[in-house]
Symmetry: D2
Subunit: 317 residues, 4 copies
């Protein structure tokens, strides 16, 4: 199987980082995958476990360790490093911890890979994108977050199951914050060319009432909580999401993915990163699409932006 | 690489049939691929050439010959057998020749593979679908044509190139006859969630005027002619289209593809086969989608249906 | 992407089971993947996390839970369920615990999937294969362990790195117990057609002295310990190994893999399961290959067999 | 699906060239595939037909035409351009014609792609490799032929069918001339770790007598003739072989493939190109392996070399 050329560095060998590397190796998302972490025992064991399976994957290689020099010359850097929420710790305190980690990391990463595209996965990923982009001083398109790529995947799976159609034929997006204020763009959602709101139920009539749609949105919004409750983390779906984004960049795909980029005036929003359908290809995000939104959607987007701006400010950005 | 289970029989080892088998082997569209033709030297040579490359493909096998018994137990039968237009021969005369071939073939194929799904590729594929379905006496969903799957793929490639976005993010359909009366459903076409008609040009303003769209439709409509003029046939794109349809059936995908099924009342059309976005999965076409159409589109669909009905009638169906 | 038909049930949604499902989904190893575990919160969360990523995989589906009825009609069952070694617990005590789990599980699994092939991954996998095969009363080929498939993959990766050749061109096997008495078959090992023992070093001379080979064997033998020390478990490489075995069965591949089957006289060994290169295809293991071994190798194989026989006996088998 | 980075130029849009491009697009062997030919109508039609199918492939693009500037910056150039044997024309006359084409082509290709690796497919490919390498003045590893990669694939398929084992578990090589003097290396051939000559027949006893092996070799040697007789050309298997070689180069795989390189002293042969198992990776052939051969094999290799040297000489090389 062909493996895409290019060097992928995954920063953080935790549940998310190692799953991202695993998915990338199996899919051949990059020719060279490097796992970097500060925890030596952990990162070396993950690299070994991943390498031991490569008899059954394509040409991609996996190496890694604690030496920042290993990250040199990366084409894409996926950042999953970070502290996890501790009992009693607020989300904002967590954000502060992870922002501090980024402040130390970004300059080092950038020094070793001055041409890389940076993809933030560590949470809160929208806010940390602002932090990382400011620190790096790079164009917005080169520092973005996986954002609602994962949430959108969740929505499409749910919709596909609901209507009995392959999720690959479901076209709908979750936009805004990767978090509580996110929302779906129902107006432009289609299934196999049919507007979602016109989709016919099996027995006749519309399949989705406004309430049913709101329930679906709510189910997506709370999905991560349910997964974390049951297994302590989410890693598999985000690993695939991250690998998919890497492929779009390294493959110069110009594929549309709802990643989170620091905006500069779109929908009147500036200096805040949130997710919108975006063209992802060589060099990162090449264009943020302007999906038509109705007033309700515009208001929700503005609310998302405000929440994110407040978080960023409280971290000093 | 995993190969999808199931037995695929490709009838006709010409340019289209052998390309379909090649694509199916490389993609692992079916575990067992059988090529059947009446021309022994040809079919045995194609099978050998295909088999010689299997060191570099997955687990799928390829066999074949002139013995109809080889087709037994097929899960999907793709029919590419047929005469080609001879100089001076009208399209209708060709249709007659191919209808006669089908009349001889279908009963034999059905006898050996009573549970198979039949996919017509031989042209005129819409008309021949009516012929085959009548002969077989099977439910409409089990005998359908590749229809505008190929034309739709052509449209998406063109659109993707035009706007600089991956064709995988372009969602648009060509419907109607696989032929001169086919037309695109612009109203529900989207690119990455943005309605096609709202897509912004690089310099600002709408990217597509109604004239530009009509030109695109025309380019798709005449694409086959240009290919045939240059190389005498079209085979690669149709080979991939057929393999893709096979995967949707064998993989029980319920994927939406614009295949051509004998309609029974949709849009007021009955007993004519034409392409509409359809859910393709286990057992063939499971649902023909009712895409909202405006009056112009409805009129074009009716015109497509009338042209096809006339052809069928002239063949005695 | 084509997904192989067939139903894969993974028993145990722990680190190994969920990684197996993840690899199987990404690779399309089976059309339907079911995760079964007795821990409801855990299994439901894993299924959700896996399902959330399916936007980026092929047609395969993932479901699961704690209801044994979900396993019904499986084509392949991969068993990863089991207790883990507790501090102070001996390996034999652990074997006892896992044997008891199997005694309860196998009859239920068999009742729901009377035609399935069973692949043991839970350790000690060779001994548990004897247990499972006796309980099930099935032919040896239908109940086997992943055995040294993983260890062989480790060896090939190491050799590939050492000589600067793709691991896909390295052909060597680890055989015997999946554990301390395992050993490589150096005599028949080749790299791109060159006997391993003849492989030329870059500077001239043989690349591998007998001591160097023994070191490699030792590195493979202790690899799992090093991974477990660093990350607490091994899951990624075994997940890929299990997915690969599943593909060989469902794809009727007749691929040679060093799985562990209860022997019946080969090399004078009877009633003990250990790994030898075996043809894996429809219905499981179809043939255990008789690789020529020298006296030293035969002695090691006998030692492996004795160790395994003793373990099985102490568990009452 | 990930597409390997890099630019592949296929020179010659005939049966072989277009099949190579088709296989490369479906497999994602290169990010950018360019088809170049002097026949404008033909090449433009092939490019269009290939492009029309890309809705169903990965990120790879296909373009092409008659302008040599389109080939610029290639990473790998596969040369399939050439005249076909005309009635009454001897093989040597054909060689002359194709050598003249190369003499015109190589300088132009090299000028536009000074860093490319060149893979000769046009026949007689071994002799033309000498011609191309001399003209280009490049290191031997950068100008080589597909050689017996195709013949080896044929052999493995035959052996796999004969013993009922997946061809992926059959390890055997055809070496020497891509033509009548080629021969298999039986001594080092293995199936799943078992020496081929020791492989047990189903009923007991050795499966392969020396005569049976010689018959197999003969069947491989004459395979192309049988295919050409039946369909007028061979294209599918060679298309996959060429795509596979491209992947080894672009993926920096260091995979062992029996390609044909101008030798410099191996086995006492100098200045002649013939196939031997070789490590193919970044920059082309990185190492020609020295497989142990017995006296009979050495004699056959020498005979192959002499035949090829005579051909080259008669062309003035
Ligand atoms: N954006 C999303 O959609 C999404 C989804 C899931 C998880 N996440 C986030 O991903 C992050 C990682 O989650 P996880 O489950 O892998 O956590 P984890 O605790 O398992 O792993 C985090 C890893 O980061 C490493 N690390 C800490 N500081 C580092 C530094 N300075 N340099 C390098 N490595 C460092 C740690 O050693 C640890 O191995 C979390 O912030 C989580 O919230 C985001
Ligand atoms: N639907 C589409 O999108 C589409 C696209 C391309 C081509 N086509 C059609 O596909 C058909 C095949 O095209 P082609 O280029 O492969 O033609 P071809 O002439 O190369 O091959 C046709 C093959 O059918 C065989 N055949 C004839 N009668 C047969 C019978 N009774 N049983 C079995 N085999 C029989 C012939 O021996 C021949 O090998 C044509 O009708 C063409 O118009 C359709
Ligand atoms: N053979 C190999 O090469 C290999 C490699 C790695 C691990 N393993 C073995 O795989 C096994 C699983 O390892 P892990 O890391 O996933 O362990 P784990 O503890 O993470 O998971 C085991 C799972 O089994 C479940 N379970 C226990 N009893 C069950 C029952 N009766 N029915 C269904 N599920 C049940 C548990 O709830 C748990 O989720 C261990 O025995 C380990 O030694 C084998
Ligand atoms: N090495 C192998 O294993 C192997 C296998 C099969 C075929 N072949 C060889 O491959 C070659 C091509 O076979 P084919 O069936 O594709 O032939 P073909 O006649 O179908 O195509 C040859 C193409 O080369 C083009 N061409 C001629 N001169 C050219 C030039 N100067 N620049 C660019 N293009 C030019 C022609 O226009 C034509 O399109 C033959 O020499 C054949 O013997 C080799």
């Amino acid at each position: 199987m062909a493996a895409q050329a290019g060097k992928l560095v995954v920063v953080g060998a935790g549940a998310v980082g190692s799953s991202t590397a695993y998915a990338a190796l199996i899919r051949g998302s990059a020719r060279d995958v490097v796992l970097y972490d500060i925890d030596q025992a952990k990162v070396e064991a993950e690299v070994l476990d991943l390498a031991h399976g490569t008899q059954f994957t394509g040409a991609s290689s996996i190496t890694g360790g604690t030496d920042i020099a290993l990250t040199a010359g990366a084409d894409v850097v996926v950042i999953t490093a970070g502290a996890k929420q501790k009992p009693g710790q607020t989300r904002l305190e967590l954000a502060g911890t992870n922002a501090r980690i980024l402040e130390a990391l970004m300059p080092q990463l950038l020094e070793h890979s001055p041409e890389a595209v940076f993809v933030l996965v560590t949470n809160p990923c929208d806010v940390l994108t602002v932090v990382a982009q400011r620190i790096a001083g790079l164009p917005a398109g080169r520092v973005f977050a996986s954002g609602t790529v994962l949430d959108t995947s969740r929505l499409r799976w749910l919709l596909g199951e609901r209507v009995g159609v392959s999720r690959s034929s479901v076209h709908a997006y979750i936009v805004g914050e990767h978090g509580d204020t996110e929302f779906p763009l129902w107006a432009c959602a289609t299934i196999g060319g049919v507007p979602l709101r016109d989709w016919a139920a099996d027995g006749g009539g519309k399949a989705f009432s406004p309430e049913a749609l709101e329930e679906l949105a709510q189910e997506v919004r709370t999905a991560a909580y349910r997964v974390i409750e049951g297994k302590g983390a989410t890693n598999y779906a985000i690993g695939l999401s991250a690998a998919r984004i890497v492929e779009a960049v390294l493959g110069r795909e110009d594929a549309v993915l709802p990643v989170s980029t620091v905006l500069s005036g779109q929908y009147g929003i500036d200096g805040v990163a949130l997710s919108l359908p975006s063209v992802v290809g060589a060099g990162g995000v090449r264009r943020v699409l302007e999906v038509p939104m109705d007033d309700g959607e515009l208001a929700r987007l503005a609310r998302s932006a405000e929440a994110l701006r407040a978080s960023a400010r409280s971290l000093g950005y």
